[in-house]
Symmetry: C2
């Protein structure tokens, strides 16, 4: 029998050329490339990679800020039969070097600001692989230039990888273990596209803003989705509220993804109210608990946009549940709905299991497990960890959660900084929700601090809106009018510096907690009372 | 390494229960079933099928009009590890019997009106398989009853088939060859869902009307799509314009599919203008050329609905290109756009090749070929035909077409009854478009009749709107004001009987042409002049 056809990421690129050959594929500052140009550049640089020794399944390291060459590199590596391995530039050199050694790449591509890694990466890779310089302004001595090589090359055909063939390795750094390389196949990443494009209403008329680093799974996966529907990519090197707002107006962005801290930053930026945001029709958010007050404020500020939340993880390519835009409409709200992660995407089975691995009933809390064609192939070079994570074919997320009576998933692990104070459970998010409604508050984080009497006491760190003035006690009193006294912060720090953020822009509560403990040990009372 | 997860049609059913456990799954006349009830019935009858000898991959024949049990049977067969084989009840007994013999089923399920086939089918199947009676009113002596068995059974778990496992065999009857059983896998049918739900805007809030027989690939594939998104199925036994309109109003239908003759029938029905059609938001059409005038009339009658056209074939599960709703908007129209079949769906590579199998450039006409995970596994029991159809992994559609400069596919084979008259090419559709704008005309078909001087002469068969009166010459003169004289019908028959229709509701021009030739041979001049 003829072999069945398998989905292929390069088919997505072919489709984009077919749908919008002369339509804009990528906007990167003043530069614009059509889909035809992008595909031509990809097929040329793929020829360079093959000529320089890349074989099927060979790894291509990418370390760069977001540029059009980053997007191209994802497709170049795959078109040439390779595997793209985008690294997190926020990591330390030693972390990066250990990932390069683990990936054992055949090719290394470096962008502006990362030329100095050439030698260390080359050594770590062992085989002295070619280094391609994808930057604008300078190059290390050994590197060959992306643009010069591309211009001289003859385009080649797609290597034809598809289905379960490895396409991408993304390193995730657990808090407790060394970084693991999550292996995602063509099928995995296409499954994520198929699982999300309908909910996102993403099609060839969409214009998608990438402000987040492409080494994270959410933007990396979105990169493939935006291409597959033949939409337009717009790149910003990083999230800066004022620049994001200007870009939305300038290029008519229709789709963007934000985390809660970015909602706050956008709302605090006077340009938001003064700019034409009408093009922005779909806003997805996730990766950190979203205070309802903040969401309401954002929805009021952008009444023409649909909001949706997604939940997932790198090992699931990443989305497994979505809380859709209809769930955000006032007429559909019910208590707790917006704290739910929503319902399974098209191709995902999602279940909650007990310690014995058996399924739990709705309402019972256990480990969230998921399966579907979006589930990773495994961890690179880590068969034991893979077997452990994928027991019975299900990805064991390590997140705790339950399904409610409406079939909506609740991830209680997002509330894992639950505070146990005097025997009472206090959920940080509930306290944060209360504080966030205070008109002077811009951002806040709530966690437990050790207390000799109650075990833990509720502590809050708050950043005020620019120009706002309020005492710590004023905010605590405000909370007492709104939530049970035992849930209210006993101590509250008003902070002027920005909150410490993770690579995924979550507030690093662990860091705030460590700072607090250090300041207490040093008898440097920084907290508000 | 842990095996990758594969898509599975039963996961679609599980998802529907998760999304809308108590939501309406199926409306069949006065009966309504929730998703929980439907899934329970499926898991029970699946137990019956296993107990009665169905093994993994065993075929389950279904011959029934559309009822809730038809929909259930599709999932029962698959849940039990089998393969559903829905037969076309419009075929002759000998055709049906030969398909049963070819499929060699383990189980036969018959609905009302088909009990008399029990004995012939049982014999054809060889092994004297159990026959399950899915009707309401009577049963053949040998049959076991669907409802009684179901009620007594204990639900079983899904057999776990997925991916490339065979799920469905659909017999297609070519005009020139014996019926071929098209083998569609779980992956094939899910790929079609993924390829179409975004364009159809089909989700858990949708209410889908099935008026077409489920043995055709388009409704059969849609059955899986509607289930996968957790929407509601509404069944009518057949298309009757007045009943369709009443059902749209009664159950709030959001999605329906029509062919051109149905557009005409709906427009000719006074109830259309008098009924509340506001729920109807998406109308898909296809399978026959759609006259622009008719489409415009329909769009004007239902201004709140989005229209889209799809092109495909059973072997492609079926959709490969879609002309989207935006292409139907007045501001996006350009000449010829509505005669295009649109652009490739998400997972399909579509190309046009010459006789040597090489790709042709845009603008050049050749054979349309397509590949993707929606491409069939092959023809049942026909390895040579399979190898021929799937050369190089591509489905060779047998349709001729070209891509235009905008990347839109045009299927000129739909115009294959092109008439060559006096050396000039006349495209039937263009003439039909002209005739269809005449206010008295309900339906028409244009084709060539042999002519001693010109080779062929343009001939039209026209059915008038009820109560309308016009002479054949009046319509011919009307055409002369609108299209080139050489394209106008030289002869035109005004017909009072309904047009002969194929199983897919296409006007059977071959039959009209044969009738014409017979009447000429018998010197029974029936045409208008």
């Amino acid at each position: 029998m003829t072999e069945p056809n398998r989905p292929s990421l390069t088919q997505g690129l072919r489709r984009a050329i077919r749908l919008r050959p002369d339509g804009v594929a990528v906007i990167d500052g003043a530069k614009r490339f059509s889909w035809r140009e992008t595909a031509d550049r990809v097929a040329r640089l793929a020829a360079v990679l093959r000529a320089r020794g890349l074989v099927d399944g060979g790894r291509v390291i990418l370390l760069s800020l977001n540029t059009h060459r980053s997007i191209e590199t994802f497709f170049v590596a795959i078109h040439a039969g390779g595997v793209v391995v985008p690294l997190n530039h926020r990591l330390s050199e030693s972390e990066l070097v250990s990932q390069v050694a683990d990936a054992a790449p055949s090719i290394i591509i470096l962008g502006d600001g990362f030329g100095h890694f050439a030698s260390a990466f080359g050594q770590a890779a062992g085989g002295d692989p070619p280094i391609i310089w994808a930057g604008e302004t300078d190059a290390s001595g050994r590197a060959v230039a992306f643009e010069a090589e591309l211009a001289a090359a003859t385009p080649i055909d797609d290597a034809g990888r598809e289905g379960d063939d490895l396409a991408c390795i993304l390193y995730t750094s657990g808090t407790t273990s060394a970084a693991k390389g999550v292996m995602l196949s063509h099928m995995n990443l296409i499954a994520n596209t198929l699982n999300t494009v309908g909910a996102l209403d993403l099609d060839e008329t969409s214009v998608h803003l990438h402000h987040g680093p492409l080494f994270h799974v959410a933007p990396a996966a979105r990169l493939f989705s935006v291409t597959h529907v033949g939409a337009t990519h717009v790149l910003l090197p990083r999230f800066v509220a004022r620049e994001v707002i200007a870009e939305i107006e300038r290029t008519g962005i229709t789709h963007a993804t934000f985390v809660p801290t970015m909602f706050r930053a956008l709302l605090d930026e006077p340009a938001l109210a003064e700019s034409d945001m009408q093009s922005l029709s779909v806003i997805s958010y996730g990766s950190a608990p979203m205070p309802e007050a903040l969401l309401d404020e954002m929805m009021a500020a952008l009444p023409g946009a649909r909001f949706l939340q997604s939940y997932g993880m790198t090992e699931l390519s990443p989305v497994v549940t979505i809380l859709g835009w209809r769930d955000h409409l006032p007429e559909n709200r019910r208590p707790g709905l917006l704290r739910s992660a929503g319902q399974p995407v098209l191709l995902a089975d999602v279940a909650v299991v007990g310690l014995d691995g058996n399924r739990l009933n709705d309402g019972q809390t256990g480990e969230i497990v998921a399966r579907g064609p979006n589930r990773m192939l495994g961890y690179w070079n880590k068969p034991e960890l893979t077997a452990e994570a994928l027991r019975g074919g299900w990805m064991h997320t390590g997140d705790a959660g339950y399904f409610d009576e409406y079939g909506y998933l609740h991830v209680v692990d997002r509330l894992k900084d639950m505070i146990i104070s005097g025997g009472e459970n206090v959920y940080s998010q509930e306290v944060e929700n209360a504080i966030a409604t205070h008109p002077a508050v811009s951002e806040c984080a709530v966690f437990g601090r050790p207390h000799p009497h109650w075990g833990e006491a509720v502590h809050a760190v708050v950043r005020l809106k620019s120009g706002a003035q309020v005492e710590a006690q004023g905010i605590i009193d405000y909370c007492r009018d709104r939530i049970a006294h035992y849930k209210c912060p006993r101590t509250l720090e008003i902070r002027t510096e920005p909150m410490p953020l993770s690579g995924a822009n979550k507030i690093l509560k662990a860091k705030l907690r460590a700072e607090l403990l250090l300041s207490e040990a040093g008898l440097m009372g920084r907290s508000g009372q």
